[in-house]
């Protein structure tokens, strides 16, 4: 077991103007499950591959435990990796696949068999040990790939979108299995995904990346309650946060016709006359009566049982803006109606329109 440290780690591909990973600073504690998340091309996989030693580090350092591994070959890093397409060796049986690393490391035949069997039991793979990967289903292959990592008993697990090749149902199932397995084994894990739901449900902490730059690191709760900038606010959470421009007055921020009282120190950080306001769908209150707030035309209500999501639009600064709000599953406005929405004031996020940085302190932080 060991911690992992990225110390200004940078990867610049030859003949590209911008680094794929730009001065990444990240401390991952021993035994922690850290999820790297971001849109495609944000550098999350590159960051993981840098840690694996499959990608050169052009600047900064990477440490596993106290050991500087920046220029060390993958085989000397004591890590195990699960690949997106599993990368099982097609000419070997499941047992041989799982035992390959041990065989290379010169572990004796009997100990190898024992450790493979132990991991197979953990993953419910005992019956398949003699099979070749081609004779396994997608979910079983995924488990073999996990098993191959577990057998190693490495310092760090690296997982590169290991669930993206599974169907939706299996993905949800496997998600919880992996998370609980990781907690049981207590091995430091770095997990890459583009799926924010996966990130929120699995990670102890989440690191959000965009264009090779780390946007924010925090627990799922922190990211939901206090996104540091517009990007994180819009990326984390489903359905996504409502984000639109709002005018600033001397006393606060205008949410439609309603004035949201805003402390002076927050208003001091505003540049120009408007801010970007962010409200999560679950933090919106709806009233059918004309009142203070934003007038919203209801386009559609998505019924999901206990809850529903109201999709509507409104005119903000002359532009059509889509609004999503969570509503009660049974008692809600219907499509075509006009309603007035108002945010729960303690859960309003304000961002500087130019820089995109958060300007108001988060509730409860």
């Amino acid at each position: 077991m060991a911690s992992v440290t990225y110390d200004k780690a940078t990867r610049l591909y030859p003949n590209t103007p911008r680094p794929a990973v730009d001065s990444l600073d990240l401390d991952i504690a021993d035994g922690e499950f850290l999820v790297l998340v971001g849109p495609s091309g944000c550098g999350k996989s590159t960051s993981l591959r840098m840690l694996a030693g499959l990608e050169e580090v052009n600047g900064g350092r990477i440490l596993i435990g106290d050991k500087d591994v920046t220029d060390i070959a993958p085989k000397d890093r004591d890590i195990a990796m699960v690949f997106q397409n599993y990368a099982l060796y097609p000419h070997m049986t499941v047992a041989e696949n799982m035992g390959f690393a041990l065989k290379i490391a010169g572990v004796g035949k009997e100990e190898r068999a024992a450790r493979v069997l132990e991991a197979a039991k953990l993953l419910d793979l005992e019956d398949y040990l003699a099979r070749k990967p081609k004779a396994l289903s997608g979910g079983q292959r995924q488990r073999v790939a996990m098993g191959r990592a577990i057998v190693r008993q490495p310092q760090v697990f690296l997982m590169d979108e290991p669930l993206s090749n599974l169907d939706a149902k299996l993905r949800v199932q496997t998600r919880t299995q992996i998370a609980s397995l990781q907690r049981r084994l207590g091995v430091t894990t770095v997990y890459v995904t583009h799926d924010q739901t996966e990130a929120l449900t699995m990670g102890d902490r989440i690191a959000v990346l965009k264009d090779g730059i780390l946007q924010q690191v925090g627990t799922p709760r922190q990211l939901l309650d206090a996104p540091q900038n517009v990007f994180v606010a819009g990326f984390i959470g489903s359905p996504a946060m409502n984000l639109f421009p709002a005018d600033v007055t001397e006393d606060g921020v205008m949410f439609g016709t309603a004035l949201l009282a805003t402390p002076r120190e927050t208003l001091a950080k505003v540049t120009g006359t408007s801010v970007t306001i962010g409200v999560r769908p679950e933090d919106i209150e709806i009233s059918p009566i004309e009142g203070k707030g934003l007038q919203v035309q209801v386009d559609l209500v998505e019924e999901l049982g206990a809850d529903g999501y109201l999709y509507g639009h409104s005119e903000v600064e002359g532009k059509r803006t889509d609004i999503v709000a969570r509503v009660d599953g049974r008692d809600h406005p219907n499509a075509g109606e006009t309603v007035y929405v108002h945010p729960v004031e303690s859960h309003v996020h304000l961002f500087n329109t130019e820089s995109g940085e958060r300007i108001n302190p988060a509730a409860g932080h």
């Binding site: 000419h91 490391a105 690296l158």
Partner: protein
């Protein structure tokens, strides 16, 4: 056949469907054959093309054309076979006279194999020479070419692309150009007219094409497999022997057949570098001299030729499934 390669890659009998674009990579990665029905996504884009080709090749006209071509190509070999069974006296007219007068005899074969009139008519020792030349003459270039192919495909180094083109460009140079300098060199270091000289020559001449074909195959192995092996702690050597070789077996087999046939049937290289002595010269060299002065033993030639093609025929039929697959292996990408 208990060749492990059968397990490595999808069963070749599953049909040409698996040769669709993308399915090759996918098949390697997951070990799943395309024969069970192509899965969506990756495999489907080029599948239409493969299906079209398949459709065209299985039409009745194509079958008729194939039969005619096969017939025309077989006639001379058949003629040779008939001629090998005819007594010496009959040899002046065409083989088709068997339809009117047919007196087959195995005398030619017994003369050729065991030798009766003169001792040096005996093919047996040349047969062994041929094996001694052909087996290392196939294995050496294959192993070297595979190592080179792996390096060219997976080990980044400066000038890799240029060097690869250069190696393949050597294919343009006719090997006849190299005969005399190489012979001088071998004589200089004292191995002229020995087996090693022939092995080295065949290795040199076989390498460029071998590297090229194997490179195309090895380069298609999914990079994640090699990365997984690296993370699993394997060194380059271990990756080569435990991952690359098992996964390349179909290509290795098909190129082995090519090289084997080429070396077995070769006369020029063997004649130059073996010195044509009975100790070193292969079957082909003996065959070329078999007719003897003034064509005295001309009637023995067909039998001798047939003896010499037995081995290639066995090799070909035993490994033909790889032969076909190997030909297609490099071409399915695109």
């Amino acid at each position: 056949m208990s060749n492990p390669a059968i397990d490595v890659l999808p069963d070749p009998t599953e049909g040409p469907g698996r040769h669709g674009t993308g399915t090759h990579t996918e098949a390697i990665l997951t070990g799943r054959g395309g024969g069970r029905g192509r899965r969506g996504g990756v495999g489907s884009s080029g599948g239409g093309k493969a299906d079209r080709v398949k459709q065209r090749l299985t039409s009745p006209w194509a079958t008729v054309a194939a039969i005619i071509i096969a017939f025309l190509w077989t006639v001379p070999t058949f003629g040779l076979f008939v001629a090998s069974l005819r007594p010496a006296a009959d040899k002046r007219d065409g083989w088709w006279t068997i339809f009117t007068q047919w007196q087959p005899t195995l005398d030619n074969y017994s003369t050729v194999l065991v030798g009766s009139s003169t001792a040096n008519n005996n093919l047996a020792s040349y047969f062994i020479n041929s094996f001694v030349i052909t087996i290392p003459g196939t294995l050496f270039p294959l192993l070297l070419a595979l190592m080179a192919a792996y390096a060219f495909a997976w080990i980044p180094f400066r000038g890799r692309g240029t060097l690869f083109v250069l190696v393949f460009a050597l294919q343009i140079v006719p090997l006849q150009m190299a005969l005399i300098p190489l012979l001088q060199f071998f004589n200089g270091i004292g191995i002229g007219g020995t087996f090693p000289a022939v092995w080295i020559a065949h290795t040199i001449f076989g390498l460029p094409l071998g590297i090229f074909l194997l490179h195309n195959f090895v380069a298609q192995i999914p990079p994640e497999l090699i990365e997984a092996a690296r993370v699993d702690g394997a060194s380059q050597t271990q990756i080569f022997f435990r991952i690359i070789i098992p996964l390349s077996l179909p290509a290795i087999a098909s190129i082995a057949i090519f090289q084997f046939l080429w070396v077995w049937n070769d006369l020029l290289v063997a004649l130059v570098f073996s010195g044509g002595t009975a100790e070193v010269a292969p079957l082909t060299a003996k065959l070329a001299n078999m007719a003897g002065n003034f064509g005295r033993n001309e009637h023995l030639l067909p039998a001798g030729a047939f003896v010499s093609i037995i081995v290639p025929l066995i090799v070909f039929f035993a490994l033909q499934r790889y032969f076909v697959r190997g030909l297609l292996a490099g071409s399915t990408k695109g």
